[in-house]
């Protein structure tokens, strides 16, 4: 098995492939772990924790802890996040060695006959070639905002800044935009968050968007939804933006612009066409239900195989394909049960349908809600922002969707992911005894609320 790309989809596929006894090679042109480990999920989580600490320490007085004046230094936070990334990348390297995966450093190009050319060497796969080349950030050159790496940056550059900019406009209020807004605001940057769609976190439940919008505005992050950036004019040390929202156009002058809208998949110059691997209209690699491309023996996993472009989706696809190729019968991937998480403060985590989607699909549903303000544990830690919201099918209690806004949302959501994967209804969730006092109790209470039997409210 040859795997092109050492990101989450690729390296997990490599380990599983080796575990299943297949001779496995992983081709990676950069650091193992891909965007996720090096310039994505992992370093941002390190920075977000720095931001969290800054906020907590600033507000610690009422908890009886005084730390004096809080000073922040983005450079140090950045250095720490780099260490975390490097450790993780080395961890992946170690796992490759442990599992006897051959790591080939270099740019791989697909060739017909299940071959991959790296430099002057050509490797041939007996079983299959997995394409896991991932995605990258993209700018908006059409409005003058091409990434110049100084004043117009992407997350790639933001993660390596020595200093937090004085002011920053973030274009795109999806998970990436939301997280950077959170980080830079905590480090003293004046942040303006611009979203083209009518609300921030447009893919999340409207109530979650609303909660985050309120939370951000309250702490001084400017949020402009339904906005169109008409023009961007980058200068040496500033960018002037013309933003139209709500019928009015305003001019913004910021030290830098962070492009956080959309990603492009890495499908160019890797020999797709030469091997007969076709792409869809949206640019993803065309795959069948087994994730096989239009060229037999070539499979695509992770971001290149289509949305949602999430590390954990790619990881599962890597496991799925390798097991399939090893002749096993892997558990089918439930694409409607891939959790999505935004690690802002408060966090946003969700699974399944939003309330609007329930309405669109004309589902007969009941909503159960429980706010953390009524949760004992949350009161104790002072993290009372947010709620648990469960949408259940009226007749059978199936959990159609669940949405959590709150300090531990990313961890709390998995109870509901497991529930959905195994088709537990709200009753099974509620019947499981939840330890008291925990944030998790809010999940059980939301389930109870959907049954009309909420206790703690």
């Amino acid at each position: 098995m040859i795997i092109l790309g050492g990101g989450p989809a690729g390296y997990v596929a490599a380990i599983r492939s080796a575990q299943l006894g297949m001779s496995t090679a992983l081709v990676e042109k950069d650091k193992l772990g891909g965007v996720c480990v090096n310039i994505g999920c992992i370093p941002t989580k390190a920075l977000l924790h720095s931001a969290y600490l800054a906020t907590v320490i600033r507000d610690s007085k009422e908890f009886g802890v005084e730390a004096g004046t809080v000073k922040t230094d983005y450079g140090i936070a950045m250095q720490r996040s780099r260490k975390v990334s490097d450790q993780n990348s080395k961890g992946v390297e170690f796992l490759m060695k442990k599992n006897k995966v051959t790591v080939v450093k270099g740019t791989g190009i697909l060739q017909p006959g299940r071959k991959v050319k790296v430099g002057s060497d050509v490797y041939e796969a007996k079983k299959a070639v997995l394409i896991a080349t991932g995605s990258r950030v993209k700018g908006l050159p059409q409005i003058g905002l091409e990434i110049n790496k100084t004043t117009v940056i992407s997350s790639d550059e933001a993660l390596f800044l020595e200093k937090a900019p004085a002011s920053l406009a973030i274009i795109g209020a999806g998970a990436v935009g939301m997280e950077f807004a959170n980080i830079f605001h905590a480090f003293g940057t004046k942040v303006t968050l611009i979203e083209a769609l009518p609300r921030i976190l447009p893919l999340e439940d409207a109530e979650a968007s609303e909660a985050l919008s309120r939370s951000y505005k309250k702490r001084g992050i400017e949020v402009i939804p339904g906005a169109r950036v008409k023009k961007g004019a980058p200068a040496k040390d500033k960018v002037t933006l013309e933003v139209e929202a709500g019928g009015a156009t305003q001019k913004l002058e910021v030290a830098a612009v962070l492009m956080a809208a959309g990603r492009a998949v890495n499908t160019e110059n890797i020999g797709l066409a030469e091997c007969g691997v076709q792409v869809t209209e949206r640019g993803f690699i065309k795959v069948d239900q087994n994730l096989q491309t239009t060229a037999p023996g070539y499979y695509a996993i992770g971001d290149v195989a289509g949305p949602p472009m999430l590390a954990h989706k790619g990881m599962r696809e890597g496991v799925y394909v390798t097991e399939l190729l090893a002749g096993k019968k892997p558990h089918a991937i439930k694409y409607d049960n891939v959790p999505s998480v935004t690690y802002s403060h408060p966090e946003v985590a969700s699974i399944g349908a939003t309330e609007d989607q329930c309405k669109e699909r004309k589902l007969d549903y009941v909503t159960g809600r429980f706010p953390f303000s009524a949760n004992g544990r949350a009161r104790g830690t002072g993290e009372t922002e947010g709620f648990v919201k469960i949408l259940r099918d009226k007749r059978y209690g199936e959990i159609l969707g669940a949405h959590i806004v709150g300090a531990q949302a990313s961890e709390l959501i998995h109870e509901l992911v497991v529930a959905r994967e195994n088709e537990y209804t709200v009753e099974e969730v509620e019947l499981a005894i939840h330890a008291h006092p925990t944030m998790s109790e809010a999940v059980a209470q939301a389930a109870l609320d959907s049954l009309g039997r909420v206790v703690d409210m």
């Binding site: 558990h331 409607d336 589902l363 199936e398 088709e423 209804t425």
Partner: protein, 424 residues
């Protein structure tokens, strides 16, 4: 000593059987002769009997699962048993002989070589959601094939079972859940059809498979020809009414009973029609056993009234009702639905004027009975209303020629039109 429990051939034509219900569970003590499980054969639901004393172990066939004849479905471990017979494929001849393999280790339960054995297939595996949906819709989860982990029945399985399709169910398709309320599909009527579904693909049940297999060996290869005649049933009706009055609480005689009796008596006089085509020879029967087509859920079966020519109308009536009821609850024993020499199919109750029936090989003929309807008729030069019935005989031309069949039909007609002739 450990004894294998095989899927036995519980009917003469059975090739595979579906485990409907385990009466004994993994770990239950069983005695020789006790019913272990109910098995749906191609004809009926039969009992699978324990052929040894001991403890039931290693149940590998789940309820709802179809298993070929001769396959090991469980093991009965005797007292102090540590060895387990190899789960081999046995020759499909009942009663099966247990094969004992070498001791595999000294564990309490012993080990089974090759093929991994499911822990306990008597348990129905289904997700809580699937259980809830099935309960409300009255679906028997045992009859749904599960595609979840370890064969677990999921919501999607219920949806696809309801729609009769495999795969392609979009996760968002929840409102279109169409669930069948019966384990075996009832004949589709328009109001019963799945809401919004253009069609329903229904997998063949064991009985449907057998019907399909057997009927194409009939109308295809057998050169059928058909003879129709109209019978005046006025006097038969009068005779029947009189008999029923006489019988009072002791039973009822139906038109069908009269027809069966008359057919049997007519066959005695026309042995040429009471025959089997046996490829290289014709077997003319001296006994008359009338197969009586009975509609059952999802198919039909022909229980046999043996020696119908020698039984009284009351006897025939009682037996016919018993057999029909057994057929409906799928409890007919093989000897109750095999060996007929001639068959009768009656669709009179469905107000069918006339139809042709398909011969049940190796028999050479079958009678198709239409409904009895008042019709204008000329009797003694007078136009009057008479109860009339059309009967059509299907003949295998390899056995029965036109004149032979017509002669039989004429006798039958005489008997029905003048029931006293039956006494001759």
């Amino acid at each position: 000593m450990a004894t294998n429990v095989y899927m036995e051939a519980l009917s003469p034509t059975m090739e595979e059987g579906r485990v409907v219900k385990w009466h004994k569970r993994e770990g239950d003590a069983v005695k020789t002769g006790e019913t272990l499980a109910e098995v749906e054969t191609d004809k009926a639901v039969m009992d699978l009997i324990a052929r040894a004393d001991g403890v039931l172990r290693q149940v590998t066939a789940a309820e709802g699962q179809t298993v070929p004849v001769g396959k090991v479905v469980a093991v009965i471990l005797g007292p102090g048993d540590t060895s387990v017979p190899a789960p081999a494929f046995a020759p499909p001849a009942p009663p099966p002989r247990p094969a004992v393999a070498a001791t595999m280790g000294s564990g309490e339960r012993g080990a089974v070589p090759s093929a991994p054995v499911q822990a306990d297939a008597t348990r129905v595996k289904a997700s809580p959601l699937a259980r809830r949906i099935a309960k409300e819709a009255g679906v028997d989860l045992k009859l749904v094939t599960g595609t979840g982990p370890g064969g677990r029945v999921t919501k999607r399985d219920l949806e696809t079972a309801g729609r009769g399709e495999r795969g392609a169910a979009s996760p968002a398709a929840a409102p279109a859940v169409v669930l069948r309320s019966e384990p075996l599909p009832a004949p589709r009527s328009p109001e019963g059809a799945g809401a919004g579904a253009a069609y329903d693909d229904v997998p063949l049940t064991q009985i449907r498979k057998t019907i399909a297999k057997r009927l194409v060996t009939s109308l295809g290869p057998i050169p059928h020809f058909f003879l129709t005649t109209e019978v005046d049933m006025e006097r038969a009706a009068e005779a029947r009414d009189a008999l029923n009055k006489q019988l009072g609480d002791q039973g009822k005689v139906s038109y069908n009973d009269v027809i069966v009796k008359a057919t049997a008596l007519a066959l005695v006089k026309h042995r040429a029609c009471n025959a089997w085509f046996m490829d290289d020879h014709i077997r003319y029967w001296n006994e008359v056993h009338i197969g009586m087509a009975v509609a059952v859920e999802d198919g039909l079966i022909t229980p046999v009234i043996r020696n119908a020519d020698r039984k009284s109308l009351a006897e025939i009536g009682r037996e016919a009702r018993e057999l029909a009821e057994k057929a409906r609850i799928r409890r007919l024993q093989p000897n109750e639905y095999t060996g007929s020499t001639f068959s009768v199919s009656n669709l009179g109750m469905f107000e069918i004027d006339q139809f042709t029936a398909v011969i049940n090989p190796p028999e050479a003929g079958i009678l198709a009975i239409g409904s009895i309807v008042p019709k204008p008729a000329v009797v003694n030069d007078q136009l009057t209303s008479r109860r009339r019935m059309r009967i059509t005989m299907s003949c295998d031309h390899r056995v029965i020629d036109g004149a032979t069949g017509a002669a039989f039909l004429k006798t039958l007609k005489q008997m029905l039109e003048n029931p006293l002739v039956m006494l001759l």
